[in-house]
């Protein structure tokens, strides 16, 4: 049910040229994915998806829309070559999944590498009930520090792009975009 809605929203995203509707549909898409994650018991992921995908990024997209107008222009080329590339990639990916163990199998390697240890021992070793948090912040503390640094670096990149563009545009006589 949720997957059908997701697919319908995705197709709608592709067809609609009014960018305002696209941004709203993208928010709906995120909310639906969050519902899907909740159904799969990945509540932490669902929480993040709802807060980031449906919340903040919609606001940021709206901010970008106010800068660049509400209508997407038609592409100047036929969609055949992109369609071919997408189909080829899709076939390659499906072929790749043939080698994977069956979906949801209890004896898949992913469930027996370190997951058993985390599930059984983390309460004694870390002392907190939420295994996601203890894996994220303690067992995988280095990764999370790297992620924090990446978030910071991304923000620095955005700042350099936006602030740099603003000052450069102001120098030859204060000309601004058409917004």
């Amino acid at each position: 049910m949720l997957l059908t809605l997701l697919a319908a929203t995705g197709l709608g995203l592709l067809r609609i040229r009014n960018l305002f509707a696209v941004v709203m549909l993208a928010g709906v898409y995120s909310l639906l994915s969050a519902g899907l994650f909740t159904v799969m018991d990945a509540v932490d992921v669902a929480f993040t998806e709802a807060a980031v995908g449906a919340g903040i990024s919609t606001v940021l997209f709206l901010g970008a829309l106010a800068l660049c107008g509400h209508h997407e222009s038609r592409p100047g080329h036929t969609p055949l070559l992109p369609l071919f590339v997408v189909c080829l990639t899709g076939i390659a990916l499906v072929y790749g999944t043939m080698d994977m163990p069956p979906f949801g199998g209890a004896d898949n390697p992913v469930h027996h590498h370190v997951a058993d240890h985390y599930l059984e021992e983390s309460y004694h070793e870390i002392g907190i009930p939420n295994v996601v948090t203890s894996v994220l912040a303690s067992y995988r503390g280095y990764d999370t520090m790297g992620e924090t640094t990446v978030v910071f670096a991304a923000a620095v990149g955005v700042m350099i792009l936006l602030i740099g563009a603003r000052t450069r545009r102001e120098r030859p006589g204060g000309e601004e975009g058409d917004g």
Partner: protein, 144 residues
């Protein structure tokens, strides 16, 4: 939108609850879904809501851009600082057991360590989200 009474009052009523919820999500991340990242996003969303309703200037009087940009950097410093602190206490980098007040219950240190590094994540994510929002909103205002 800024003249609508319902929107203004609604935003004013909601904002403290959103901020409190963000703190709850952070400090309760050990027991329930959530953590620093989600809390930072929710906290940023509270200020984005206020900025949308009351205007960018009003919010920037409370949270100036230099402050949120410093926040974005300070979060990484907090996270890395926890690692340095545990090293100074004679454990591995990010070995939270060093933070335990009572060495016989070393796992209590994990609790403090996780809260502290998640605080670093919260501060960074909050600073980054609000900075990026300021940049976009500021450009929109200049373009109009």
């Amino acid at each position: 939108m800024r003249e609508e009474v319902i929107v203004r009052v609604g935003a004013k009523v909601l904002a403290p609850f959103i901020i409190t919820f963000a703190l709850y999500v952070h400090f309760h991340g050990d027991y329930s879904p959530g953590g620093g990242f989600q809390a930072g996003v929710i906290l940023a969303a509270a200020f984005a809501l206020l900025a949308l309703v009351y205007g960018l200037d009003e919010v920037q009087r409370v949270l100036p851009p230099w402050f949120v940009q410093t926040c974005a950097a300070m979060g990484v410093v907090i996270y890395a600082g926890v690692g340095v602190a545990t090293m100074l206490l004679g454990h591995n980098y990010l070995g939270y057991n060093a933070l335990a007040p009572d060495p016989t219950h070393a796992e209590h240190g994990q609790h403090y360590g996780i809260l502290l590094v998640e605080l670093g994540v919260l501060v960074t994510v909050f600073g980054v989200m609000v900075s990026v929002f300021y940049l976009f909103a500021g450009r929109v205002r200049k373009a109009q």
